[in-house]
Amino acid sequence: MDIGILEKGFQQHVDAEKKIEAKDWMPEKYRNTLIRQISQHAHSEVVGMLPEANWITRAPSLRRKVALLAKVQDEAGHGLYLYSAAETLGAERADLVEALNDGSAKYSSIFNYPTLTWADIGAIGWLVDGAAIINQVMLQRTSYGPYSRAMIRICKEESFHQRQGYEMMLTLCNGSPEQKAMAQDALNRWWWPSLMMFGPTDKDSPNSALSMKWKIKRKSNDELRQDFVDNSVPQAKILGITIPDPDLKWNEERGHYDFGTIDWEEFYNVIKGNGPCNRQRVEARKTAWEKGRWVRDAAVAYADKKKNKEKDAA
């Protein structure tokens, strides 16, 4: 069949709000865009475990420790759901893992910042998971069926992540002056990198238009970022701490908060691999992969041995 006709049929299908499934015909560029986006998303879930894992052994109470453990375990699951979705498009898991470990794959820039104090764990749950939720709620309605289903599952699990982080911030803000100062310091350091999570401005993201046309994305980077700012301001007010942006103010006319300019130079620098923790994160992934090798080998050897025994018995 003529590719023009196929493309037209594909677009009509998408426009009618019908999902595209793995075996359906799709433009090569749709497939490749999705593989790139979904695998980067998966890598982000996996690398995202590292800054938080840093504090598991030092959580101040058992209640906080079990919550953080459960959250980090969820993120591993999220990585798996997303790798599986990428695989339905023909990507190989081994290739994806290799790209992450050799440093060639991208993941969310936010995870290249360090977690310096316990309050950072609260700020991450509140802001980083909060930002991720805004993006993921939109992606529940993405046009690719397996991606959409993974997102629905992830969103269900995600809401406790933000709540446990915000609760932690509340506790600190209602505690001693030192504890409140810790919470403020964490907000100061995590606010701008959280805004960067939504990616470049609309005018600097040339591929966005096509993703919107194909309904891979349903909202632009700037729209999502605005949603995040609008959600966060009242939450910071309840905590009684100050968002580090002198230009932040309510705009009656727009019905939204105006906010200051993001330091895009910092953003592109982190993306390029020069953030505070880029090297450390990839090193940690590599080490985990190497140290786990004997487990993977043993599992295969055991499976082979069992298979041979069954064959001999037959």
């Binding site: 499934e21 699951g77 798996l80 190989e92 993974a150 599952r153 699990e157 599992a299 295969v300 050897a301």
Partner: protein, 96 residues
């Protein structure tokens, strides 16, 4: 042995509670069925999602072609007599 090759892919089905069908929930890689069940328990039942797990190697599944979708759907489209509402009964019969 630790070459780049993927472990086989398994499709995971979960029965959420007694009396319901197993339902497809996702997939994962594992070296054998036993490990696939162990991994599925960790990944897909962390919040009481199920009481029973089936794992099936993906290669064991034969699927109909997507372009046959219409052929599966359409022939039933004009067979309204397969539905109870096709049959007219007086109101006094009540629910049947």
């Amino acid at each position: 042995m630790s070459n780049k090759k993927n472990w086989p892919l398994w499709e995971i089905f979960i029965r959420s509670r007694q009396g319901l069908h197993h339902k497809h929930v996702g997939s994962l890689h594992a070296p054998d069925a036993e490990m696939a069940i162990n991994n599925a328990r960790d990944v897909y039942t962390r919040r009481q999602e199920g009481i029973s797990i089936w794992v099936v190697e993906s290669t064991a599944i034969t699927a109909s072609a997507p372009e046959d979708g219409a052929a599966l759907y359409d022939p039933a489209n004009d067979k309204v007599y397969r539905h109870p509402t096709f049959y007219d009964l007086p109101d006094e019969v009540g629910h049947m």
